[in-house]
């Protein structure tokens, strides 16, 4: 082989394992799932028939699917807002000059705790806490908030809120740590300049802190949106989408269509719709990152 050709091929040699892997386990599966969504029941059916976009019509006119979309939006938006507020408050506390370095270190580790636990551990622990006979119900009785036991995860009225609460607990540390890193990157000169202009704490927060953190906050919201939209494990292991369908989200709906009802075409169609939404957010995210550079 001549040297020139060899030099041209070298980078592909280094990339070969990655390319093979991405081709077989990313590109081909995406083509497959789009294909499934265009046929009537695949896998279960030996000779599936091409049906064009009629599965999309079925999914998009399915009232259960729209109920799941509604639950997902509630879950995602409430989670993001709460993550942002809790993350910001904790980051600001950990960044004040009133606390010593050691105190900050200890509390940072405590506040970051939920981050260390996998979804199934979080799910089981919260099922225990929220149990009708659990410790949270003890405090509710103790402080006379309610005389009856609250069935957080088993009641259709509050199951979605309860699952959202669990997700809030599990997700805010990422915001806290990222915002804290951002706060430490803001030049003290900016605050001094604001103070010279007579700004009080509130004004220096809205005038300096927020504008300086803006790129980080936007990244956080977009990342969290994509992650929370796809949240499956936490919901599956706490309520399984129930009671009835009170906590059914798009992910649990897709999973059930595929793996309990064996309606692979419907599941694939839902999965493609989810992929399209995530891709659109992904494009905005990449553009935002590029614009910042």
């Amino acid at each position: 082989m001549n040297a020139k050709l060899k030099k041209k091929l070298t980078p592909y040699g280094y990339l070969l394992p990655t390319i093979i892997l991405m081709l077989i386990l990313l590109v081909i599966p995406i083509v497959m799932v789009i294909g499934y969504s265009l046929y009537d029941n695949v896998i279960a059916n030996k000779n599936p028939v091409f049906v064009g976009l009629s599965n999309y019509q079925k999914v998009l006119t399915n009232s259960d699917f729209w109920t799941a979309v509604g639950h997902t939006l509630f879950f995602v938006i409430v989670s993001i807002v709460a993550h942002m507020i809790i993350g910001m408050v904790f980051a600001l506390i950990l960044n004040t000059r009133y606390l010593g370095t050691r105190t900050k270190g200890i509390f940072r580790a405590i506040y970051a705790l939920p981050w260390m636990f996998t979804a199934s551990v979080i799910a089981i622990t919260w099922r225990m806490l929220l149990d009708p006979n659990g410790v949270l119900n003890f405090f509710i009785q103790f402080f006379h908030i309610s005389s009856e036991k609250v069935t957080f995860l088993a009641s259709r009225d509050i199951a979605l809120q309860s699952v959202t609460l669990i997700n809030i607990w599990s997700g805010y540390p990422f915001y806290m740590i990222s915002i804290l890193a951002g706060l430490q990157g803001i030049s003290p000169d900016l605050y001094e300049a604001a103070a010279l202009d007579g700004a009080d704490a509130v004004h220096s927060f809205t005038g300096v802190t927020i504008p300086q953190l803006r790129p980080i906050l936007i990244s956080l919201i977009m990342l969290d949106f994509v992650w929370t939209l796809q949240q499956f494990a936490l919901i599956w292991m706490t309520t399984g989408g129930g009671p009835v369908n009170a906590t059914e989200t798009v992910s649990t709906w897709i999973y059930k269509q595929g793996f309990t009802k064996f309606q692979y075409s419907m599941a694939s169609t839902g999965a493609v719709i989810l992929l399209i939404v995530c891709t659109i957010i992904g494009i905005f995210y990449v553009r935002h990152q590029k614009a910042e550079e």
Partner: protein, 277 residues
């Protein structure tokens, strides 16, 4: 350092500090506390943090049950293999991105960035038929290969960044001495990127250790289950052995907690790289 004026502000901060610690820490404390109770004491009224029957029985039961020990071995093996393969394959790909211009570079790069937006559940349905076709269903490889799709992109983006900060003169010096590019990469460049690689390795380990959806669907028998799926299995099989589930939760969280305690700086650097620059 304590400010001299503004006492109300300080009081407010201390109150928030304690409320925050209860919110973040109480569920974890309760998990730990219940892992030392007997099953009958879990929902005792009024609840106690430490009961008179304080014991390690729940932990002992887990270690005596080979099926449950197997969950841990599976999780360690799979996560370990995923970390090694991700770093090896990812470093090679990063070297190509950092040191060469070639046709298709932009396209491959776009695919790698785009993976991060692909929902795992979208890939799950085709994966099931693909993994069955490849005869990998219910094996370690079913999980290792599918996890790589999600761990590689982060590794490649991060390591390419590290390599870009290293001067090409380093590679050239090795090649003038008669060494190959391969030697330059593994003997010179990689050793100086170790701190960054620790961050990447830990993030990868955590992704693999925590994965639930694929582990649930692409394995079937209990000897192939990982910790996240295994904890949930305890619920169905033994009619709610809460103390054992809590003990297993504590044990299952230990690797990540230990990594966090010893490598807090790398850990945070790895986790926040997505949002903070």
């Amino acid at each position: 350092m304590i400010g001299k004026q503004k006492k109300p502000v300080k009081v407010l901060i201390i109150i928030l500090l304690i409320l925050g610690a209860i919110w973040a820490g109480f569920p974890v404390l309760w998990m730990l506390s219940n892992s030392f109770k007997t099953n009958a004491e879990i929902f005792e009224f009024p609840p106690k943090l430490i009961t008179e029957n304080f014991s390690f029985t729940a932990y002992a039961k887990i270690f005596q049950n080979p099926e449950q020990v197997r969950f841990f071995l599976n999780s360690y093996a799979i996560s370990g293999i995923v970390v090694v393969l991700t770093l090896f394959i990812g470093i090679m790909a990063s070297y190509a991105f950092s040191r060469f211009e070639f046709r298709g570079k932009a396209l491959i790069n776009t695919v790698i960035v785009a993976v991060q937006a692909v929902p795992p559940i979208t890939l799950l349905i085709p994966y099931l038929s693909l993994i069955v076709t490849l005869k990998l269903f219910n094996t370690y490889w079913a999980l290792v290969l599918t996890y790589l799709v999600f761990t590689l992109p982060y590794c490649i983006l991060m390591v390419t960044g590290y390599l870009n900060t290293m001067p090409r003169a380093l590679d050239e010096a090795v090649m003038i001495d008669g060494g190959s590019r391969w030697t330059a990469l593994w003997k010179i460049l990689i050793p100086s990127a170790i701190p960054g690689l620790i961050s990447v390795g830990m993030y990868t380990f955590m992704q693999a250790w925590n994965e639930y959806l694929f582990a649930l669907t692409l394995t079937k028998t209990n000897d192939m289950r990982t910790v996240p799926v295994g904890i949930n299995l305890l619920m169905g099989q033994h009619a709610y052995e809460w103390n054992q589930m809590m003990a297993m939760s504590v044990l299952g969280s230990l690797p990540i907690l230990v990594l966090f305690l010893f490598f807090q700086k790398y850990f945070i650097a790895g986790m926040t790289a997505g949002a903070v620059k």
